[in-house]
Subunit: 275 residues, 4 copies
Amino acid sequence: MEKEHNLVPEDKLWKRFLYRIIYRSDTKLGQLFDIILLSLILLSTFIIMMESVPKLDKRFHLTFVVLEWIISLFFTVEYMMRIAVVRNKKNYIFSFFGVIDFLALVPFYLSFFFPVTKYFLIFRMLRMLRIFRIFNLLDFMNDGYLIVRALKNSSRKIYIFLLFLIIFSVIVGSLMFMVEGGRPGFETIPQSIYWAVVTVTTVGYGDVSPITPMGKFFAVILMLAGYSIIAVPTGIVTAEMRNKRQNLEKICEQCGNEDIDDDARYCKQCGKKLA
Amino acid sequence: MEKEHNLVPEDKLWKRFLYRIIYRSDTKLGQLFDIILLSLILLSTFIIMMESVPKLDKRFHLTFVVLEWIISLFFTVEYMMRIAVVRNKKNYIFSFFGVIDFLALVPFYLSFFFPVTKYFLIFRMLRMLRIFRIFNLLDFMNDGYLIVRALKNSSRKIYIFLLFLIIFSVIVGSLMFMVEGGRPGFETIPQSIYWAVVTVTTVGYGDVSPITPMGKFFAVILMLAGYSIIAVPTGIVTAEMRNKRQNLEKICEQCGNEDIDDDARYCKQCGKKLA
Amino acid sequence: MEKEHNLVPEDKLWKRFLYRIIYRSDTKLGQLFDIILLSLILLSTFIIMMESVPKLDKRFHLTFVVLEWIISLFFTVEYMMRIAVVRNKKNYIFSFFGVIDFLALVPFYLSFFFPVTKYFLIFRMLRMLRIFRIFNLLDFMNDGYLIVRALKNSSRKIYIFLLFLIIFSVIVGSLMFMVEGGRPGFETIPQSIYWAVVTVTTVGYGDVSPITPMGKFFAVILMLAGYSIIAVPTGIVTAEMRNKRQNLEKICEQCGNEDIDDDARYCKQCGKKLA
Amino acid sequence: MEKEHNLVPEDKLWKRFLYRIIYRSDTKLGQLFDIILLSLILLSTFIIMMESVPKLDKRFHLTFVVLEWIISLFFTVEYMMRIAVVRNKKNYIFSFFGVIDFLALVPFYLSFFFPVTKYFLIFRMLRMLRIFRIFNLLDFMNDGYLIVRALKNSSRKIYIFLLFLIIFSVIVGSLMFMVEGGRPGFETIPQSIYWAVVTVTTVGYGDVSPITPMGKFFAVILMLAGYSIIAVPTGIVTAEMRNKRQNLEKICEQCGNEDIDDDARYCKQCGKKLA
């Protein structure tokens, strides 16, 4: 993700020094910086949550505001320094983490004009995704990429599945509206669609549930259908995950076998030693 | 699906012209037509939903009725033209999309006699399944067929599973009727079966839940059973999906066998060494 | 299942004749008998359900009682004939379906002494499992056996999983009792265990739900754990099902390859023609 | 688990005798001891549960207290004997079961000072995990290890998944707080996060559910997302389980590699042709 702008800038010494601290974690100072960063992200998230609790906000309002100011200023300075010390500035600014770093600041300054936007600061939590890089947890990062890649590869199938599911829910909801029509929770078609989604995903709040025997019979059929349908996304992702796990780019030169496990040293088809 | 009647009719020029616009999307006009069609489907669905909301219906009743008339007339003309310009008329009329196109019209005309049928217009949403063909999203179509095929191939196992599940729910419901008998939600056996299905599918509305300690004990056992049973449909579809996934690109040159595993070196149908 | 006693008895003609009608469905009369049987099972189940609805029972009480008598007498005669015409009587009586046929009768006669046992008649539904044999649905029967076998083979793992789950629920329930202790729904440890099971299986009736912030925090952790745990039974059954699907006893004589698909005619490892 | 200290001590006869009874179950006395132990664990768990029910506690308080004393003393003596007769005392004390045996005693003695800790005695249930060893259920033990191993191997991926899920829930909860803000159940951000977790895990108590149309629309999107996300942990564990399942009986004679796929003909570690 940060490969492109990972190059050590050759220009000035202070830039190189800061670069190492901010972008790397192979020095004592760099690690300290990362840990402070993580703590501030967590603290910031915690404060936003607590501010929303009237009882706590009344008591600690000033503390919360002051801490928010300090953290936001720290993040602002950090963001500017990140841009300053990196060589390929554009690459950083438009990278995944670059955008998140920016979004983590905007709500603070916006909240002077639109107070409600303050709560968008919660997006700061996304910065935590850096956690694996920070602690050099390479295995965790690899596994994380694996999951993301499996999801990406099956995303097309999942979109199709969701389209089916939405059409299905709209139709079922409308039918139920005709069956239970007017009864509490089924007053309108959108309401009934809401019920259909709550049911088919097996969430089942119970704020809306069928009342007439006919409606209950109908709901039973929907539930049994939903119970069978739930297998589809699981099947998609499982097949993809299993697939990704085995053949990460490896191939036997002698027989072309592509089914090579991560820890294999010899091809299990022809016995050829693997490179 | 529309292969059979896909042939360009050789008769008249205007027929050929309209055919291209309506059935294909390889011309500017054809694409425009498709986009207008999709928008009208969405608009129609939206209007039906909004009509069911008393507050909105009161305010915009006339607008809704007029729009519905316009869209339905457009769909009627389109349906007749689809029949007119296609060669093999029977094939279109009884094809999957031909039937849906017809069903999307019927409720409108029926609603003059039986007003309640108006809401069946929601089935128009099914026309949206054409969306992938319209935007030439071949990959999406292939993935869609894959899902449908996997479901079709495992449908027999899923029917058996559902039969088991229904028998199971009926028996459990009856037992629970004896345990909780008469208490709210368990007044009759059908009611108790409704509860059993709600529980075993893990929907759990909570409109009916066990009250006596004995009933709760019984429910706990049912839930644990349901939790284990949920694995069955998933297992079925996953195994099928994994199976279908593998052998999509490979094919045997000698006998045309398409069912070739990733690690196969010889065709299992004719024994030919695979490339 | 009924293999052992499937042999045509050589003794008397009427026995042989009845045997064919009752146990087989390769004659017109045999098929008629089977269809009548199925209809009576369905009718019987339906009557028991309807009898539990006070409104219907009041109106049709006599009809229900008479029909129940007729059906039960028919089943009794049928059961005695099944024993009479079969050669290996013991084998039938203690076979899976023999026991079910017997259990389908007992509650009727017991209900003269203990009226409540009447509802156990619902177990008659289990006789419906014969449906696949009756209609000669061989593919369905095979798929059914496959599912049953996959469940049997993974039953040991599922028992272990359930033991884990029960211990887990008991401990979580007890901890929650200490956290929420005394609040409605958490008055006793068994009550709290009931809540834990409802939560971890994702049923979530909502008749009991955490009230204090501490309890909610605790519940969130439990739900996230349950969400991860749900993968285990699915994984077990899926692995088993996938396994069962491919290698049903087949093996290549030349290379010993056991991974042979149902439709393979040549070994995909060495190209040897399969027997 | 108890391999290290499994060695028969050579010192004194009474030690060797007791060792066989306590640690092994290959003698009549040893089996009797194990069954008594299991019964007392179950009885103890049962008593703790029943004590929490005010009605039962009032009636049987003395019985419960006396039984608890007897069982706890028995467990104390047993724990001390376990240490006395084993050779490598440290190994036992810090082994998995050694720690559990200790934890099963502590709450009893602590409860003299802090009565509430009494309920921690429920942890005694964990001692039941010994059940498979006791009855020499080797197959069960192997399957148990298999599940534990599959979970351990996929634990890293599951942690990552949980981190994603937590960040996701916090963000969704905060957004919902802005949408439904102030309405019952969404008074604060932590409350809204609680709702988000209840929804995304498909538990759906219904103690909190969206009220405004906007909130319901938002909830529908979250549910559909959750329905797709649920596939991820299942996919992870299934892939891992399938993997572990295959290579259990096979082993390479040359290098002892145990990770051998069903269709492998050569060891992938040393290239040796497999038998």
